[in-house]
């Protein structure tokens, strides 16, 4: 047991927890049995907010849960311990001709964490979120018992409460996930500029019809730029090529005494990103690493925001709520602190998990320095726009949502709570997120 100061990837609201590092099922069960202030699992700490910490409570590191990676070519599935990172899995799978079905914006997340957050990727419009590709998972509940859960059948409710359940049903130890066949690690990437947000949104609809992976980057650093953007669309190349897979980090940001992501820096950064995109659309062969995880090349890039850290605000609104996207983009661009990274994407069908974030429609994600009360007030106001449009905020990114909006954003929350309470009647599983939002 070690007492460690923990925070999420955004580096905000740090707290002290007792960290356990179990390797066996019995050790996980023992760690879950003790706490009087709650216990939560934690993988690589990539949740932006307070989902994987419990102040004064116990945090179970899942990094030791590394049962062997086995690929079953007949069923096209991989089974692995929950502590493996997606980077490690992809590096093993790609040379064998397989790719992970859903990869989020960073490969440095654990398999267990990815399921608990029900992560989505740039292919959500076609493939949905990770939960719909999980064939089974092993969960240790707070009473120390190991359960094998399947998406259908008797354990279906527990399975879907665990997918997207933010670790609050127990600790995932192992999972079996369906794979996608690939010839190599190369993608055909088409990059295209669009002059304003309306053009970006129209083009994104068209791109989704034609491509497996799509994402738009918006420039909201200056209202005069009208929300111009660059769309990257990609498909796997069929030709076999030497495998480079996920690549490695090229630089590390040290702890910085001040926030360097100041408005002028953001404006210059966005100008460079815009100019880097070709004037005319161009298709090039790109690597997985560059397309899926461009930020992974710089380790600890969140430290650029200085000691006060940053928050990511990610919302999803229904298809017919495009106006809400425009309203949010406009208000962010006119805010006191311009958002640095802004990503726009369209979601396809939702999966069966009551607490899963993606719903058909639009999703907008922005990074903002957490150093100004005005930013907090702005995001509170944007939450109201999102709720008004029938949308929601991504709990994996959240560090500041008002609890009274939760039920409107996640209308199936009581269904989730009922199943969660059945799995953990003593309510031992708890995170700072669950306490802050009254999830449990």
């Amino acid at each position: 047991m070690t007492r460690r100061l923990l925070s999420g990837w955004g580096g905000t609201a740090a707290v002290i927890s007792d960290v356990r590092e179990p390797i066996t099922v019995a050790e996980v069960g023992a760690a879950l049995a003790e706490p009087d202030r709650g216990v939560i699992g934690r993988g690589l700490g990539r949740s932006y907010g307070d989902a994987a910490q419990r102040a004064g409570g116990v945090v179970v590191s899942t990094l030791g849960l590394r049962s062997p990676v086995t690929v079953d070519t007949d069923s096209a599935t991989v089974t692995a311990g929950a502590g493996w990172s997606l980077r490690e899995l992809i590096d093993e799978l790609v040379p064998l001709g397989w790719f992970f079905p859903v990869v989020p914006g960073t490969a440095d997340v654990t398999l267990g964490g990815a399921i608990a957050a029900d992560v989505h990727g740039k292919n959500h419009h076609r493939s949905g979120s990770l939960g719909s590709h999980v064939r089974s998972l092993d969960l240790i509940t707070a009473d120390g018992r190991l359960h094998r859960l399947d998406p259908q059948g008797a354990s279906g409710r527990a399975f879907w409460a665990t997918v997207g359940g933010m670790g609050l049903t127990g600790v995932i130890t192992e999972a079996t996930v369906a794979l996608r066949p690939v010839a190599g690690d190369r993608l055909a990437v088409t990059t295209r500029r669009h002059g304003d947000i309306d053009a970006v949104m129209t083009a994104l609809v068209e791109a989704d019809a034609a491509h497996e992976y799509t994402v738009a980057w918006l420039d909201l650093a200056d209202p005069a730029r009208g929300g111009r953007g660059v769309i990257d669309a990609a498909d796997h190349l069929d030709q076999a090529a030497p495998v480079r897979a996920t690549g490695s980090t090229r630089a590390t940001v040290p702890p910085l005494p001040v926030n360097v992501v100041q408005p002028p820096v953001t404006r210059v950064f966005n100008e460079i990103w815009w100019r880097r995109a070709p004037l005319r659309p161009r298709t090039t062969a790109g690597s997985f690493a560059r397309f899926f995880h461009p930020l992974d090349a710089v380790a600890s890039w969140g430290r650029l925001y200085g000691p006060t850290g940053f928050t990511q605000w990610q919302m999803a609104v229904p298809v017919d709520a495009a106006d809400a996207v425009r309203t949010c983009a406009e208000r962010l661009a006119n805010g006191t602190v311009p958002p640095s990274l802004v990503v726009l994407k369209r979601f396809g069908a939702a999966d069966a998990a009551p607490l899963s974030f993606p719903q058909p429609g639009w999703t907008l994600a922005v990074d903002l320095a957490a150093n100004d009360p005005a930013t907090a007030t702005l995001l509170d106001a944007l939450d109201d726009v999102v709720v008004g449009a029938g949308g929601r905020i991504y709990l994996t990114k959240d560090a500041r949502l008002r609890p009274d909006l939760l039920a409107a954003m996640y209308p199936r929350i009581d269904e989730w709570r009922a199943e969660r309470d059945r799995l953990d009647p003593g309510r031992r599983m708890a995170s700072d997120l669950s306490l802050r939002l009254g999830l449990v």
Partner: protein, 249 residues
């Protein structure tokens, strides 16, 4: 829990009648769910703040002169609040203008309330925050702690001791997830200073509250209100004769 912007869901104010502390709560009311106010006349305070906040409010009895009750009061408040996300120790007694006529008993009383009572309350809160593994303690010091003037001598010297204690307490809390933020307001128009001649850079409770909320977001360890008062320590190097002339005005 405190959010990414340092905004609390629960708060305990020791010296709950303080205009400054209540102004801070006004700013934080958007995220506050439960507020505990501890004061000597808890019932009078309860009616004074009725309907002021959307958060649920409960009052607790607190007598700065009796430190034997402080730990019990904090435990009782923490029990009701859940965790203490934010604690504000804000009670202060300026006393009558100081002179050689002031009795020794009055000097002892002012120093006991403003220093011993406040430090003991901070200690009770700090132990609670350390156990819960998070939380912020806002300790209201005063710019007077940096350079006492003749008229507020017992208050200012007590605040100097309290200020030193609060800074040290932040050191003691390092590695616990909890921290102390020391606030040093200048002359603030409140009921405590009613009838006194304002000093240079006088401000009001709302402006001090803004500075405190900004300090919570930025994770500051010391907040001056208004900000230019951060130059006050430079007054320590003024020649004695010059300082005395300035401070008597």
């Amino acid at each position: 829990m405190n959010d990414a912007f340092g905004r609390p869901q629960t708060a305990l104010v020791v010296g709950g009648g303080s205009d400054l502390a209540l102004a801070v709560l006004d700013r934080l009311d958007v995220t506050l769910v439960r507020v505990g106010l501890a004061a000597r006349s808890a019932d009078a305070l309860a009616s004074a703040v009725a309907d002021r906040f959307t958060a649920e409010v409960r009052t607790f009895h607190f007598d700065a002169a009796d430190p034997t009750e402080h730990a019990t009061m904090v435990d009782e408040a923490a029990e009701w609040l859940g965790d203490i996300d934010l604690a504000i120790v804000a009670h202060g007694d300026l006393g009558q203008p100081f002179s050689l006529e002031t009795t020794p008993e009055e000097v002892a009383r002012l120093i006991s309330v403003n220093h011993a009572g406040a430090a003991a309350a901070c200690q009770a809160v700090a132990r609670c925050l350390a156990a819960q593994g998070h939380g912020t303690l806002v300790a209201f010091s005063s710019v007077a702690a940096m350079r006492p003037r003749l008229g507020n001598l017992p208050y200012a010297s007590a605040k100097a001791g309290f200020d030193a204690f609060a800074l040290g307490l932040d050191h003691a809390l390092a590695g616990t997830g909890a921290r102390v933020m020391v606030v040093r307001p200048g002359f603030v128009h409140t009921k405590m200073t009613a009838g006194l001649a304002p000093q240079p850079l006088a401000t009001d409770a709302a402006a001090v509250a803004d500075a405190v909320v900004d300090g919570l977001v930025k994770g500051k360890s010391v907040v001056w209100a208004p900000a230019p008062l951060a130059l006050t320590p430079a007054l320590r190097i003024l020649p004695k004769a010059l300082w005395r002339r300035l401070s008597e005005r």
